[in-house]
Symmetry: C2
Subunit: 198 residues, 2 copies
DNA sequence: CCAGAAATCTAGCAGCGCTAGATTTCCTAG
DNA sequence: CTAGGAAATCTAGCGCTGCTAGATTTCTGG
């Protein structure tokens, strides 16, 4: 192992340390309070070190977002493919999505809420977004009936995104999280209101 | 008219000037760029004058949000009550909501996106939120069937909110805005996929 | 062991929200 | 009509932000 390699390894480790710390900080104090000074302090280096790894503060949040969307894709895929049938798959995927958003609000914010240049910036991020989108589409497509599957997918994703963000902003009744997603899935998949009461 | 009154009138005018200017600035350059210095410059006063009218910058955005939600409520009510039947009313309300969000993105952001203390802060703002919520509920309630109307309302509102925010972030196909809302409304109201194709 | 390269830090800039204290403007009483 | 005091307004500045140039330290290869 040449010296060069050890340096590179140390550098890569610190790169991960920055990301991990940024993520932890964001989850505990919110992105708005994750400043270069605080982050540098937390990793025990001076601010300029951060700029040796990332172009700016925004790029750090973007990198956390990319890690997050990879996790999210995996979670969605497991939820969907583990289910015994399409209806259960759709329901599991929807619940898994909201659960991820609820358990990792700062990461979710980094991915989908924060004003991001991530759209067309990094070369691989649009691909990841497309992959995530494909998970939604695979889950809802069996219920497309005569409608355009892509449009239906956008409707599903938007509906879940809305529930995630409004729930996080405490604008929806917390105890009804499951009720909302179940009702949404039921109506979107066409299996509508139960025969009569209950 | 005693002197006191003229002063008060001038003060009220400037109050409105601040709000109007803040709103215009936000719509043209985004809330992130609406700073106390820029806003003060735009109204041709120094920064401290702003603090004679509002507690802080956030309170200005909150005030814009309150103006906005009043507008939005009126828009929703007209859309809903003008329609000839419940189905048309729901559709009109949904489209009006998305249109308002699209036409006044900064105001929409002030109301529903910006991290706000508006929840329990101002005395009248929760009432306004409840009133807006009631509009949604009135529109969707006829289609509740056996389901809880409040939950269904939360589902509707969340779904529209998601479409509004993701569309603004350019993460949904712009040309499919109407298609999405129509599909959403159709599925939520139980009038599902057309008999066969097309 | 030592020169040069690489890594890291110190110190600083401009802009942010916000405010204390100086200054100006205005109203009123004599 | 003017003097004085209250009200309105501004200047200047604090501590924070993201970010960077240049000094300094650390490490590496000859």
């Amino acid at each position: 192992m040449p010296t060069q390699s050890r340096r590179e390894r140390a550098r890569a480790e610190r790169h991960e340390l920055i990301l991990r710390t940024a993520r932890e900080l964001a989850e505990s104090i919110g992105w708005g309070a994750v400043t270069t000074r605080r982050l540098a302090d937390a990793i025990d280096y001076s601010q300029p070190v951060l700029y040796g790894h990332f172009e700016n503060m925004n790029a750090i949040a973007d990198a956390v977002a990319i890690q997050g969307i990879e996790e999210l894709i995996a979670v969605l895929r497991v939820a969907r493919t583990t289910a015994p049938n399409p209806a259960a798959g759709l329901s599991a995927l929807a619940k898994a999505y909201l659960e991820y958003a609820s358990n990792h609000p700062a990461v979710y914010e980094a991915i989908f809420v924060r004003p991001t240049d991530l759209e067309f910036a990094s070369a691989d991020s649009p691909l990841l977004l497309k992959t995530a989108f494909a998970e939604f589409q695979a889950a809802i497509e069996p219920f497309a009936a005569g409608d355009d599957p892509e449009t239906l997918t956008e409707v599903l994703w938007s509906a879940l995104h809305g529930q995630a963000t409004l729930a996080h902003a405490r604008r929806l009744r917390p105890d009804q999280r499951d009720g909302r997603v179940e009702l949404l899935v039921a109506r979107l998949s066409g299996k509508n209101s139960p025969p009569s009461a209950k």
